[in-house]
């Protein structure tokens, strides 16, 4: 980001001045030359005042005085006076940014010049391609400027050469370190690490709630599935045994049926008929029991909540009869009436008379009650539903009594037939014929075995059904857990990426910090040794981790404390040049009186070497004639694009400054 121009109006000695700066490398150095007191420092002050609202270094003779040009203020017939500084920057992408700060002052009593506050004192306009954005005023404008040139690092770009040696007083390392941090944008890493750590903590929190039971559930499913296989085998075995018992029972019956004794044959025929009838009755019993169960399932929930349903129904009916439930209407209908200015009865409600107003109020009351109206609809629907449910169970008592009676009748009929069957069996077993007796006994034995096996099979089937249910439920739970597990796994992946990101960011930050410090140290040292006129006196410049500086003497003792003011200035210049070259921060450099304390030969040496350390940087040097000797000018000639001279115009009540382009 380069400065394109600075324009000043009524700022201290500058009445109406515009300075355009050299911008095209390699000739991107601007020299502004002026005698002491001409206004060089106030030009630098105008820039910092425009950007931040303060002046970098106010000369003793201006201290306590307002920034307004008092000479012209006195000569002006106006009461209100404007001080304005405007800077146009050109960014790396070619877009422009214009910063304007203006204050208004008025003539007060006794020579006072009070400021007239204005919310639009600071304004920023930004170019984006063909469009201009803004102006943005006040705090928002300051925010934009601070992001381009953070105020905390301002003094590392806009230097006052007279005060440069102050930078290397003791214990300034911490400030320099934090400036390097900001200049190198390492603060972005601190924010990145902090925000990524916050996301990591969030992912971790979410993952904690998803500890999976999937493995345990999967094992449970496996165990039950294996047991189900065993159950199937047992069931098959029981069914085989039952079939065998049935076969043997049938064989005995066949033998008895085919016996030569007519009486036995008749008994067997009777027995056979009875068995069929009993089986039929058993079917009827099963049907009745099923019907009974269905009736209970359907009616019991309503019967159990019958009292509550009846109470609700009575309550709603009571309210409706008392007219306490609002009528049913749509909000949109009322809104339409109000918009058309009509009542429900079609009379006009827009008039100012009492009748019209009262109708309108009534319609508005309906609008307020529209939500209640929607609720009343729900209440009426619920009441209809309750009535239907109560009607459904009205005949429950009669139905269940009728089913119970029917069941009892069929069971009694079945018991009767079983009794007859038992007598027949008893008679066969007590036969005098040995074979008949034996077959009868055996059939009874196989029949009992069959009944026992039927019981066992039913139990086994029940157990298998339970196991099926367990497997189904566990599988459903397992699926949920697997979904949770997948989410858990993906959160753990995100967590790992955060860890990787944090670690990488820390490593990059530490690498840059180390490299920046090493490079600044190397360049400061090289530059210092190249610029210093007392060759072979110092070993170089060391920068510690805390950014405190040491200038070791060749003898090994510390030399920083014994450096002359000029040597300190060289050290500071070397450091600033190194800092700028290493930082990669794109802010122009302006140095006021860079060579004031340095004698002619070293100055020439500095002029020759300094530009090498400020490659591609837009640099402005505010110099006196004494500093900007022909030798210095010659050394800088390949980099200087514009040279100005500040002319002092003496006035009775204070000097004015005019800036003249000389090449």
């Amino acid at each position: 980001m380069d400065i394109d121009y600075v324009s000043m109006k009524n700022f201290r000695q500058y009445l109406d001045v515009r300075i355009e700066f050299a911008r095209n490398p390699p000739k991107n150095f601007t020299i502004i030359q002026g005698v002491n007191g001409a206004g060089k420092t106030n030009l630098l002050n105008a820039i910092t005042w425009c950007l931040f609202g303060w002046e970098l270094h106010v000369d003793t003779k201006y201290k306590g005085l307002p920034i307004v040009n008092t000479t012209t203020l006195d000569e002006s017939g106006e009461d209100l006076f404007e001080v304005k500084v405007e800077i146009q920057f050109i960014e790396a992408d070619g877009n422009k940014m214009v910063v304007t700060r203006s204050n208004h002052y008025k003539k007060g009593k006794g020579g006072d010049v009070p400021e007239v506050p204005s919310p639009h004192s600071l304004a920023v306009m930004q170019q984006r391609g063909r469009e201009w954005i803004g102006p943005v005023y006040g705090d928002d404008a300051q925010y934009i400027i601070n992001n381009r040139v953070p105020p905390s690092i301002e003094e590392y770009f806009f230097f006052d050469g007279e005060r440069m040696d102050d930078y290397f007083k003791e214990n300034t390392g911490k400030d320099i370190k934090s400036a390097v941090f900001e200049i190198s944008q390492l603060d972005l890493f601190e924010k990145l690490i902090s925000h990524l750590s916050a996301r990591r903590a969030d992912f971790l929190k979410r993952a904690h709630g998803l500890g999976s039971k999937a493995e345990e559930l999967s094992e449970r499913v496996q165990i039950h599935t294996q047991s189900l296989e065993t159950d199937k085998e047992i069931l098959e075995e029981l069914q085989l045994k039952k079939s065998e018992a049935e076969r043997l029972e049938r064989e005995c019956s066949e033998k008895l049926k085919n016996s030569s004794l007519e009486h036995i044959q008749q008994l067997e025929d009777q027995r056979s008929t009875l068995s069929i009838e009993i089986s039929d009755l058993e079917g009827q019993i099963a049907e009745i029991e099923e019907d009974r169960l269905k009736l209970l399932h359907k009616s019991m929930p309503i019967i159990l909540s019958y009292d509550a349903l009846a109470k609700t129904k009575n309550l709603i009916d009571g309210r409706r009869e008392a007219g306490l439930i609002p009528p049913l209407y749509q909000r949109i209908f009322i809104e339409n009436l109000l918009r058309k200015g009509k009542c429900i009865c079609a009379s006009d409600i827009t008039g100012k008379d009492e009748y019209s107003a009262s109708r309108r109020k009534k319609v508005e009351t309906f609008l307020e009650g529209s939500e209640l109206s929607e609720k009343s609809n729900e209440l009426i629907e619920s009441n209809t539903l309750i009535r239907k449910m109560m009607e459904e169970v009205a005949g429950f008592r009669e139905e269940i009594v009728e089913l119970d009676k029917k069941l009892k009748r069929v069971q009694e009929a079945k018991e009767e037939k079983e009794k007859v069957l038992g007598k027949i069996d008893q008679e066969i077993k007590q036969s005098n014929v040995e074979n008949i007796k034996l077959w009868g006994q055996e059939r009874e034995k196989y029949s009992r075995e069959k009944e026992r096996l039927i019981g066992e099979i039913a139990k086994q089937k029940n157990q298998m059904e339970r196991r099926h249910n367990i497997i189904r439920a566990t599988n459903s739970e397992l699926n949920q857990e697997l979904r949770k597990e997948a989410k858990h796994k993906s959160l753990l992946e995100l967590l790992a990426i955060c860890d990787e990101g944090i670690k990488s960011a820390q490593e990059v930050r530490d690498t840059i910090m180390r490299k920046v410090k090493e490079e600044i140290e190397k360049k400061t040292s090289e530059q210092f040794l190249a610029l210093i006129w007392k060759k072979d006196t110092y070993k170089g410049v060391c920068i510690y981790d805390d950014y405190n500086i040491s200038v070791p003497h060749v003898s090994g003792r510390e030399g920083l404390g014994t450096l002359s003011a000029g040597e300190r200035q060289v050290c500071a210049l070397s450091f600033m040049a190194a800092l700028n070259s290493v930082s990669g921060f794109e802010v122009p450099i302006i140095v006021d009186t860079p060579l004031a304390r340095i004698s002619s030969e070293p100055s020439r040496n500095i002029a020759k070497n300094l530009p090498n350390y400020l490659q591609n940087k837009q640099v402005t040097l505010l110099v006196t004639e004494k500093e900007y000797t022909p030798e210095v000018a010659k050394e800088l000639s390949e980099r200087v694009g514009k040279t100005y001279v500040i002319d002092v115009i003496e006035k009775e009540r204070g000097n004015l400054a005019e800036v003249r382009l000389i090449e």
Partner: protein, 64 residues
């Protein structure tokens, strides 16, 4: 609109981290730089998006 310091970008590029992590760092630094130009920025969604996109890209690569 200013850019992330080229030294930072160069150091990230020269590092041995996986390419997707390098890209994520650059994305997050740009988010920080962009957000530093607003007064009350919200970070959560931008950060989540960057992390999730990286995870998804890794899944896509693994499934190929």
């Amino acid at each position: 609109m200013s850019n992330v310091n080229r030294r930072i970008i160069e150091t990230i590029e020269e590092s041995d981290f996986p390419k997707d992590i390098k890209n994520m760092l650059k994305t997050l630094l740009n988010i920080e730089l962009r957000n530093s130009q607003f007064k009350n920025p919200l970070y959560g969604k931008d950060y989540d998006r960057a992390v999730i996109e990286l995870a998804e890209a890794r899944h896509r690569r693994e499934s190929k």
